[in-house]
């Protein structure tokens, strides 16, 4: 089976960042978000990610840092055999794993 590898920032904002690496199945055209959803279903259901529209690239919720560049997980393609490093959006408070505090202050409950 063809695979790609993702090195994912784990933990909450209170903890020092640590990375966990996952091998994911690679299919032509597959995206980073496809892989993250696959990890949630098959490797670690606790992986926290933020996404809504899944494929249409209209909600913009899945914005993360991929190899240091700010990109959408839903439109960034996996690369067969390569390792990609994923971090939450830089410059924002890290809530858990790849989820950053992207809510407007007016939309938070506290």
């Amino acid at each position: 089976m063809k695979t790609a590898r993702l090195k994912i920032c784990r933990g909450t904002g209170d903890e020092p960042p640590s990375y966990e690496e996952f091998a994911v199945p690679f299919e032509d055209g597959a995206t980073v978000l496809d892989a993250l959803i696959w990890i949630r279903g098959h490797r670690d259901p606790s992986l926290a990610i933020r996404y809504s529209c899944i494929n249409a690239n209209v909600c913009k919720e899945c914005t993360i840092a991929i190899d240091g560049r700010v990109l959408y997980a839903c439109t960034t393609r996996l690369v067969e055999g390569a390792v990609m490093t994923l971090d939450p959006l830089p410059g924002k408070t890290r809530l858990r794993d790849l989820v950053a505090e992207t809510r407007s202050p007016r939309e938070r409950i506290v």
Binding site: G41, V58, T75, D97, I109
Partner: protein
């Protein structure tokens, strides 16, 4: 624990929820609380709509809302709630024009008139849009701008309502899970509007966003409300299948079929719709239910395309026409390796919309005092099959009405902390984690596959019965699933609540589908392939001690 108080609580922030908030505020509600489990104004179905909005604006031809109603009733195969359908059609023009005043940017002709095209099932050009493929994002952005200007509206993102709170049979508010903290939140509300959209996320192939797992139906059922027409799930016939297309909604092909035609071909390149009673020689006219049935039947007969769908070909269209119709989308397709002049794409039906939903009266009030519904969450207006273009119209029209009538509602009961206790305790207990077997994420995946295979476009008694048994098994497994003991952004906890709600919605669909022993509109039974004139009636679903129960409406 955080406790909020509001006049009107609105759950869900697609087109219906945001319009309801605007409407409630302008009808006098001083405190409107607008919640989303995703980010406010970013999730839901509205923002994903790339197509058209139906309204009898009469910009391009003689038109009248009664003609729009005729087409809506015909598409609904004899099952529409005519009062709701009439409201939808009569009030759609006012909502579309109001969106125009709010600068949504409807596509216009050189004359300045709003452009209207003829979508399938419409007797005349009636469907407006925002180019290119931008209708939903433009509608959502416009409504986000409006709600941000209204001080009475408080917005909260990432707050998932897990239960409604009822006192003496009336809904008085809700209990919610704050995703960022993992803490329960209680909300006392004089009136509550469910605007959570449909349930298409319970199917494997769906055009839904992540938060359309049927939450609103489960909330309403458990609070004692009735659901109607739950068996009717619309499968959009030509959802994109292959090659892999990213950054675009899988239902993006329809507008190009309006503009350019586009031929549907079986696995060896032959046209087939005519064999299912549809003639598309002149224009793209096949209704969604018939096209879906035709495609699924071709695939089942072994005449499908390599990935299990059919081909959609624009190869006969001159390149200059393709470029004019597709505009910048041509480049987005090229990035996905798609060149329409050179090769067809593969398409197949994809769960797209749910005709059924919460039973409401003309004030959008459910059968439970204090509880209203708006948008796709409402059942009945579209009967057994929704006409193209009616979904956004319905979101705006029903949203406006729900906000108005909820703002004026007199509470039947007062909030009591004790009535919220069970739901609050459940969140606290689960957020502490649970050592168990299996994960909700895995069961959600299994449920989506099961619903797609056994409760999808083609159904029979054996498959539906098997589905019910397995859904019951999953429901029984809920208490034993593993949940991580994380407070902030606990994905396994969010999945658990999604599974809990989705199983209720899935059971309601499956029970209603099993009880309807005929084929009608979006509900196709291979064991009962014909429509039964005696069954031109609606089914109601209620929650009983043993689970969802179905009965025929009188």
């Amino acid at each position: 624990m955080i406790h909020l108080e509001t006049d009107v609580l609105i759950i869900g922030t697609g087109g219906a929820g945001m319009y309801a908030a605007i409407s409630a505020a302008r009808c006098g509600a001083e405190r409107v609380l607008l919640l989303d489990k995703s980010l406010v104004g970013r999730g839901g179905a509205t923002i994903m709509a790339q197509m058209t909005v139906a309204a009898a604006l009469a910009e391009e031809s003689d038109d009248d809302w009664r003609l729009h109603l005729d087409d809506t009733l015909a598409a609904g195969r004899g099952l529409c709630n005519e009062a709701l359908a009439a409201i939808l059609c009569e009030e759609a023009p006012a909502r579309i024009r109001e969106m125009g005043e709010w600068q949504v940017g409807w596509a216009r002709r050189d004359s300045g008139r709003i452009a209207q095209v003829t979508a399938p099932g419409h007797s005349r050009p009636r469907c407006c849009y925002v180019d290119f493929l931008n209708t939903g994002p433009a509608v959502a952005a416009t409504l986000r701008r409006q709600i941000s200007r209204i001080d009475a509206i408080r917005r909260v993102s990432n707050l998932t309502v897990t239960d409604l709170v009822a006192v003496d049979g009336a809904v008085v508010g809700a209990v919610a899970l704050d995703a960022a903290s993992g803490e329960p939140v209680t909300i006392a509300a004089r009136a509550t509007i469910i605007a959570t959209g449909g349930l298409t996320r319970i199917y494997r192939r769906n055009s839904a966003s992540a938060n359309m797992g049927g939450d609103g139906y489960a909330l309403a059922l458990r609070a004692g409300a009735q659901l109607v027409d739950m068996e009717f799930v619309q499968f959009f016939p030509i959802g994109h299948l292959a090659p892999r297309l990213v950054g675009m909604d899988p239902i993006m092909w329809d507008p190009f079929r309006y503009k350019l035609g586009g031929r549907l071909l079986d696995g060896v390149g032959r046209e087939f719709l005519a064999r299912y009673g549809s003639d598309e020689t002149d224009a793209y006219t096949t209704p969604r239910d018939i096209a879906t049935h035709a495609i699924v039947s071709e695939v089942a007969a072994g005449r499908g395309s390599p990935h299990g769908g059919v081909f959609l070909s624009f190869e006969h269209v001159p390149v200059v026409d393709l470029e004019a119709a597709f505009g910048p989308v041509i480049e987005r397709l090229a990035k996905n390796g798609i060149d329409l002049a050179e090769a067809p794409v593969e398409v197949s039906p994809i769960a797209h919309y749910h005709m059924g939903g919460i039973a409401v009266d003309e004030h959008m009030a459910s059968t439970v005092p204090g509880l209203f519904a708006a948008g796709e969450a409402v059942g009945g207006a579209n009967g057994a099959n929704r006409l193209s273009g009616n979904a956004i119209s319905e979101a705006l029209v029903f949203g406006e009405r729900a906000g108005k009538f909820a703002a004026a509602a007199k509470p039947a009961s007062d909030w009591r902390d004790g009535a919220a206790e069970e739901a609050v305790d459940r969140i606290r207990a689960l957020a502490d984690g649970h050592k168990g077997d299996g994960s909700a994420a895995v069961l959600l995946e299994e449920m989506r596959a099961l619903m797609g295979d056994a409760v999808g476009p083609l159904r029979d008694a054996a498959g539906l019965t098997r589905a019910l048994a397995r859904l019951a098994g999953m429901r029984d497994a809920l208490p034993s699933l593993a949940i991580n003991p994380d407070r902030a952004c606990n994905a396994s906890l969010a999945d658990w609540f999604e599974l809990r709600a989705s199983l209720v919605a899935a059971e309601a669909v499956t029970r209603a589908a099993l009880a309807r022993r005929e084929s009608r509109g979006a509900h196709q039974r291979t064991d009962f392939p014909d429509s039964d004139p005696g069954l031109a009636r609606r089914q109601l679903v209620t929650m009983e001690a043993a689970g969802a129960a179905v009965r025929w409406a009188s």
